[in-house]
Symmetry: C2
Subunit: 214 residues, 2 copies
DNA sequence: TGTATTCATGAATTAAGGTTCACTATGGCA
DNA sequence: TGCCATAGTGAACCTTAATTCATGAATACA
């Protein structure tokens, strides 16, 4: 017999509550609070209940990562797909990503750079890969239409992704001031620089445009 | 009474052997083999002996990191200090670093990107920072003499360091036999791209030169 | 209302390796 | 040769959370 809809709803909701408690804990104070017992209590369930919804701690956090990361990758993907020159799209994508990351600094820091358990760390790689993948598409477009220098798109995408992520980590550090104007300036610098390595000369004059709920 | 020279030598040598066993283990198969008991046996000493030389596992690996990293940072520092345009030095520094990293691919991956325990991961940050620091010096020089665009040297250095590190070890990093022509070509691409983001236009035509026991 | 099934509980267990320490071996020295 | 300081030993001990599971509660359905 099929499970009643009400009950199914309950299950889905509980799982969501656990996921959200996990996300919130990491967003608030990083991986040190990413303990099953703590998350369970925050979610209002027993420790053991977490294991009704997730195979393991690694599985739980893989899903947390997916939840958060897929949104960010989607934002970037939307910009990648958008109208406009590849150059402009690239700058906008990086700028938007940076601004969003700085907005949720603690979480972004945890997701990108904070030392954490190897198993969780491994799950982050997928996110980086997915992001680099989006960049790579843009790079190919720019190479194809002559906007970008003609080099290996995957290497180029890695360079670009590495550049802005590494540069972001500093400003994302938990101690850094979340000042908005300064943050935008930094994001602009990062976007400008990261994209710049691909530009044919002379480089276009571009002002980053924040897009998609930046 | 002072300890006899022979005996002191013995101590230094044993410590070196442990350090080297640790380095070798990581270079061979990464952090999963970075276990005290295993390292001890590889070094031909008992588990407990490791603790006569190192305070903790984290301390041991911090020293391993220092050992390897300081050499690499020194290589880069030498190029940074060398004669020549900032542009040429930058390309050479990245190229040399890349070629060396590809030569010790497994170790480089472990030191730069492989998921590992948080405590060890934290120690890696120093290395990254030191490297970025060297790049930053070069960036300042290039900005001062008008070779580079005028932006925040620290942000720029982070971008550059992030770019080549990610491209070297990232998920998309191309596989290539060390010292092969393909490897050199990739290193050249990485160096060219990473440095390119700083160049004023038109960009100089530069061929990377391998320096300092590249 | 009875009962089968599913879900929730949280204390007890497990696991994995880092760390300790009581003991032994060694080398320098008188 | 005997003594002492120091290095070496490795099995036992800890620590820290993740994970389990026996038990109880709740729900759906006849």
């Amino acid at each position: 017999m099929a499970i009643a809809a009400v009950r199914l709803n309950q299950l889905v909701e509980t799982k969501a509550r656990i996921l959200d408690a996990a996300r919130a804990a990491v967003a608030l104070s990083g991986w040190k609070d990413a303990q099953i017992a703590l998350i369970a209590s925050r979610a209002g369930v027993a420790t053991g209940s977490v294991y009704r919804y997730f195979d393991s701690k690694a599985d739980l956090y893989a899903q947390v990562l997916a939840l958060v990361s897929e949104r960010e990758v989607a934002v970037v993907a939307a910009i990648v797909e958008a109208e406009g020159s590849a150059s402009q799209c690239l700058v906008d994508a990086i700028y938007t990503f940076s601004v969003r990351a700085m907005r949720g600094r603690r979480l972004a820091y945890a997701l990108i750079a904070e030392p954490c358990e190897p198993e969780i760390d491994a799950a982050r790689l997928k996110y980086r890969a997915a992001l680099a993948d989006q960049i790579a598409r843009l790079v190919r477009r720019g190479i194809a239409n002559g906007e970008f220098v003609d080099i290996d798109a995957n290497v180029a995408a890695s360079c670009v992704a590495g550049a802005f992520m590494e540069a972001l980590v500093g400003p994302l550090a938990p101690e850094a001031a979340p000042d908005s104007d300064a943050a935008k300036a930094i994001a602009q610098t990062i976007a400008g620089l990261s994209a710049r390595m691909l530009f044919r000369h002379p480089a276009p004059e571009l002002t980053p445009v924040s897009r998609v709920s930046a």
